[in-house]
Each structure stands twice: as structure tokens, then as C-alpha cells.
Symmetry: C2
Subunit: 392 residues, 2 copies
């Protein structure tokens, strides 16, 4: 049971499993700060087989959390990948043990800026240490240690989750057999850094942000966070999808000659901003966008991708969507080119789809087929047995 503070509506929310990690030895973040006894919240679906070999780790995106499927405790809606994960679904929980943990820095029970700093008995706020994608992944590895899983069958993620999948493949390749980075990139582009900066500035411009101490002052930068979310949300959709879905349709019959939401797209965006405020912590948004902007597998060009992946035994499936302008297919192709150059086992699928970056979350049957094919093919290749020990 933790206290949720989203949108300044303080309520008790039941969070699923939370483990305390780094109990024996400190966990050193890339920024240099050491942490210990920190919480990591996770959900699991399906059953681990006797050989502990059928585990799939799903890494969530910036605004996601561990509630992949089932009912979300804060929103009351279904989890963000309910269509993809479950019994009989492409990631089939009858066969695989699916884990998703809330990334550190986030706000759904894991170590993040809204948690209480034991040293001060106050929320961390912006005294929270800076975390990186690498830190998130190493924290996930500690969770696997806790669960007694030495090697993942597969790590899967889209967007910032895809970056985590790439971190796994690059830094901890001995702990995974397969990786599926979806709609992602080996580093954050200038344009994406720019959009993240806009979001942070919107939040920090809100006086209710209180220099990061809004929880203590029982305020909430709801307006700033809503603007940040609206700006980000537009980048998740393609122009053609926006045009098809909303076009210039009005809410009413005529222009109102006012600043209310005249167009349906305006009303939709306001709704997106508002519902985000009700489930996400503003400081987490600052920290996670910062972590994503810092992400660069090549460390500023100092490391070659071909060196990073030389000799890799990981089986890759790289997926991009034609209308994704946030992480375009070109970026996936660059990754695939490097993997091919080191003779990695890599398949690449560019899916023709007009739904933009969010395609990986939406109804795209071809993507379901790619997912099912890669998972089942890899399971056969690696001899992964289902939990009942029978033949799949």
C-alpha cells in the first residue's frame, strides 16, 4: 500500500509486488551516487518453468509502468499492453513467465522522486539522484537475482523500453537469449532531446512545481505536466493519423470565436493532458526524460556499435513502423546494419502502418504476427519448455 499523490488527489493505492534491492551491497548509479535498500515494484504473469528458462522481461516506455495487462490500480483501465500479453496472446502467458518492473525514477512504487527519503522523512523531490537507462537495467538485473532467474529468455520493449532492451543486449548479453527493441534508437536524437526539454520547461514553469518540492507543500504542477504531456502526445501520432481521426472536425456546429476547445483534436489533447496528470508524477517526468535524453549506446561516438555487439549470441528482432517520426526506421536500420556487420542473428521488420510512434501499442495485426513468430521461433530454437514441462 503506498500513497499516491497524482494530481494532488492523495489516495491510497494498492501496488503489486515490491522488493527491496541492494540490501547486501550498495548499488552505484552512473551519476556516482550509491543507493541501497531501494524498492522496485513489479508485476509478473504466467508461471516460471522448472528450469527457470521461460522468463520474458518487458521494459515499459517513459510514461508506462509495470501494469502490462489486467486492471491498472490507479486508472482502473486495462494495462498498457493488454492486447499483446496474456493467455493465448502473442506473448503467451500460458507458456512464458512475463515480468515487468516499474523503472527506477518512475512513480508506481519503485525508487523515484516521490518516494520518501529515509534520511529526511520527506519526499526526495529534486534531491533524488539522476538515473540513467543503464541504471534502470541494472536494477532490473537485481530483480532477476532476487527471483532466481539467471538468464532471460527474451527482453522486449518499445520506445524507451526498446532502449532498455538495447542496454540489456549491449551490457548484460550473458543474461539474455533474445531481444526485441521496438520503435526505438541507439541514441536519442536532437529533435527528441528538444521535445523532452519543452516538456521539462513546461513543468518547471508551473509555480505549483515549487522548485520540485510540491509534495511537501501539498501542491501539484498539474497544468505544467498536462502541457508537457500534450506536447509529447502529438509526437506519438502521425500526421496522417491525426488528419484521418480528427481532421478539422469541430466539437460543435460552428467556430465559437473563443479559446475553448473548438476542434475535436484540441479537446482530445486536453483530455490526454488531464488523464496523464491523474496517474503520473511530475518530477518523475523530469527524471525520466532526462535519462532518455542522456541515452546513447555509443557514448558520444566513443564506442562503435560493431565493437559493442561483436560476437553477440543474442538473437535480435528489430521492429520499426513507417509512420513513426519520433524514432524513424532509419534509426532502426542503422542498428541492424551494425548487427549484420558482426554477423549477429538479427531480423528486421519495418511495418507499414500509419499510426505513428504509438503503433507498437495499438491494433496492428502484422506486428502481433511478427511478435508471435519471433517469440515462438526463438523458444523453439533455444528449447524453452512451457511451465508444465510439456512440449509446446
Amino acid at each position: 500500500m503506498i500513497t499516491s499523490c497524482f494530481g494532488a488527489s492523495y489516495k491510497e493505492v494498492q501496488i503489486g509486488d515490491i522488493v527491496t534491492l541492494a540490501q547486501d551491497k550498495p548499488f552505484v548509479l552512473e551519476c556516482g551516487v550509491s543507493i541501497s535498500n531501494f524498492p522496485l515494484a513489479y508485476q509478473s504473469y504466467g508461471t516460471l518453468n522448472a528450469r527457470r528458462s521461460n522468463a520474458i522481461l518487458i521494459c515499459h516506455a517513459l510514461s508506462g509502468d509495470q501494469y502490462v495487462c489486467g486492471t491498472h490500480p490507479v486508472t482502473g483501465k486495462e494495462g498498457w499492453w493488454d492486447r499483446m500479453v496474456g493467455p493465448g496472446k502473442p506473448i503467451d502467458t500460458n507458456h512464458f513467465f512475463v515480468i515487468c518492473s516499474n523503472v527506477i525514477g518512475s512513480c508506481m512504487g519503485s525508487f523515484g522522486p516521490k518516494e520518501t527519503n529515509p534520511a529526511t522523512a520527506k519526499p526526495y523531490g529534486v534531491s533524488f539522484p539522476f538515473i540513467t537507462l543503464g541504471d534502470m537495467v541494472r536494477a532490473q538485473a537485481l530483480l532477476l537475482d532476487h527471483l532466481g532467474i539467471e538468464k532471460l529468455f527474451c527482453v522486449i520493449g518499445g520506445s524507451m523500453g526498446g532502449m532498455q532492451a538495447l542496454e540489456w543486449a549491449a551490457r548484460l548479453p550473458h543474461r539474455i537469449q533474445a531481444a526485441m527493441p521496438i520503435a526505438t534508437s541507439i541514441r536519442q536524437s536532437a529533435q527528441n532531446i528538444a521535445f523532452h526539454e519543452i516538456g521539462r520547461q513546461a513543468i518547471m514553469a508551473d509555480p505549483d512545481w515549487c522548485d520540485g518540492n510540491y509534495l511537501e507543500q501539498r501542491k501539484y504542477p498539474a497544468k505544467g505536466l498536462a502541457v508537457a504531456r500534450m506536447a509529447a502526445h502529438v509526437t506519438y501520432l502521425s500526421e496522417s493519423m491525426l488528419q484521418q481521426k480528427f481532421g478539422r472536425h469541430l466539437q460543435g456546429e460552428n467556430f465559437t470565436y473563443g479559446f475553448d476547445a473548438d476542434f475535436r483534436i484540441e479537446s482530445y489533447l486536453r483530455h490526454q493532458g488531464q488523464s496523464f496528470v491523474e496517474r503520473f508524477d511530475a518530477n518523475s517526468y523530469l527524471y525520466l526524460t532526462r535519462a532518455a535524453s542522456y541515452f546513447d549506446l555509443t557514448e558520444g561516438g566513443r564506442i562503435k556499435l560493431t565493437d559493442l555487439f561483436a560476437g553477440t549470441k543474442v538473437r535480435f528482432c528489430v521492429v520499426s513502423f513507417t509512420s513513426d517520426w519520433l524514432y524513424s526506421s532509419i534509426e532502426s536500420r542503422n542498428l541492424v546494419r551494425a548487427l549484420n556487420a558482426v554477423a549477429a542473428n538479427v531480423s528486421f521488420t519495418e511495418i507499414e502502418c500509419d499510426k505513428g510512434h504509438d503503433s507498437f501499442l495499438l491494433d496492428v495485426p502484422e506486428f502481433d504476427a511478427v511478435m508471435r513468430g519471433f517469440i515462438n521461433g526463438s523458444a523453439a530454437l533455444f528449447g524453452i519448455s512451457p511451465p508444465d514441462g510439456g512440449v509446446r
Copy 2:
């Protein structure tokens, strides 16, 4: 002499020529409100010839103003199209009389929300009536009446200025001979409506906006306006230009693990936001984005473009830029297709350029050549004589 209030630094600024229009009969705005005796600020460059036939009207974009060239009285920098307009330049002020007026709704001396309402002796703020692109153009026509110019040689504009050029061609074709709509569209797309809404929400979220009455309260929503500008500015540039110009370059040597501007693109965007605040009125930004979002030559599909332009005698040059994702070439092509279908005299140039929407303001030699060619060719076709009466 007017009082400038940008960024809450109240200073006296010398604005060029200001005429009072609608003195004899009221000017009815599309929203239904009648206005009279309203100011329109403009600049002119070059000399009107004896036949008054060499006038070129330049329509500025959303954040532009009448200071096309020379020194801007607020910023102290050169005008926004100094590279294009002047003696010997593509729009040659040795040959043509160039006019640019500040659009109504804006903030550089024309009738706009920061002007004083004579009825209350207070700034209009959000009691200012809603204006449309059509209203802006009809106000420009009143200015031409005042100047004794019956027919323009040419009307030219980029972005929201291009929409005004299209309004001229569609609604007042008898008053122009040629039109050059650049990097624009016949209507605002859903994506562009979305970005405008984000900007407005950022401004209105700022408590210093004071429900639109910040001038009276001697406050200024600087932070909100800066965020709005940052969000808009990203849309003016292409991804590839951002990548080339900024990439992932840091301000310092290493990550600071903080929320200061670590990346150069972040610092650049903050600077863009800040300098905009120093020269632009926040309420004007609300009104002008609203006007642009309302823009639709087809009036919600009720009017066919081919009907609108049937029998037009206007000579058109439509220009788009390959990397402009705000007003893509596809939108220009749709316009050109309709003009071709009514056998209009239209040329279309899609310029290969990676500088994004802002290409029309930047150093693009091919665009200069297109401009010079269209202007000089049209002048020859229509027999426009230079101001000295000699042969060009």
C-alpha cells in the same frame, strides 16, 4: 510612439507609420464584431511609380511583423526578410514599392489585444474580438485604399503569410496580379491545430497570464509564452537540420546530471523562448494561433477550390520545401492541382532543402532565384515600370 510591454519591460518604442482605418464606415469582422478607427502599422520600402502599379505586399507570418528589412525597433536586429528584400535583392526595392503591414491581432502597433480599448481606457486583453485571416487581408486592403493603390503587382507570403496571399487570391483577386504562397496550405491541418493548442495552453497555464489581464496587473506570462515558442520553434526546423546543427553536442564536457541545459539544443531552445518573450505579446499569440487554426479556404469542405479559383487571372507561383513537415509539399501540390484544373497560370517549385519550414527565411540560393525569376518575369509580363519610369 507606443508603449511596448513585452516581457514586462515597459519601454517606449518608435513604431513606423500607423494609419487609422475604417474612419468612414465600420469594418465588420468575421466574428460579427464591428470595429472602426482602428490602427494599422506598416512599413514601406522603395518608391511607388507614377501609375501606382509596382506595389508588392508582403504578408508576414505568425510571429513576424512589418519590419521586413532595416533595423527592428524592438530587437535592434535586422528585419526578418532582410536577405530577400532591398536594393538589388530578389525583391528589389529599386524597382518595386514594397509594403508590409502588421496583421491585426498582432502586437507591433496594429489593432491587437495589447492596444487600449477607448471605451474602457484599458488594454483589450481577451476582450479583444476574434480575428481571422480574412479580416487581416481585408484590413490590408483598406491600407491600400489609403495609399491609393488599386491593384497590387504581387502579394507574397510564407507560412501564415502564405495563407494571407491565398486569401487575397481567393477573395480579392481583382486587386492583385500575381501571388506567391510559400510553405503554406489551403487550410490548417489537425497536427498544426494541435501544436497551436499546446502553445495556447502553455500561455494560459501561466498564472501571470491573469486570465488575459496581465497588462493591467503589470505582470507578464513570460514562462508560458517561452514554452509556447519553444514548442513551435521545433516544428519550424527539420529533424536532419537539428541533427546536423546540434546533434548530441553538450554545452560542457560531460553530463551534469542536472536539469540545466546540458545539450546545446536545449540551450538554443531556451534562448529562442526567451528572445521571443522580449518582442511578442502573449495574448497576440493566442489570437493569431486561433486565427491560423480557423483558416480553411474550403470552409469546412463546403467550397471547392476549383470553384474558388475558376477563371482566375492571377499568376501564381507556389513554393514548398522538401523538409518542411509543418506545411509539406503534398499540401502545396493539392493547391497546384486545383489551380491547374481551372487552367490558372501557375508554376510550382518544390525546393530540395533540409532546413525545414523556416527554409523560406534562411539562406537558400535556389529560393532566391525562384523569387527573382517570378517577380521579374511577372513584371515583364504585366508591363510593370520601375519608379523612375525607365525600362527595367
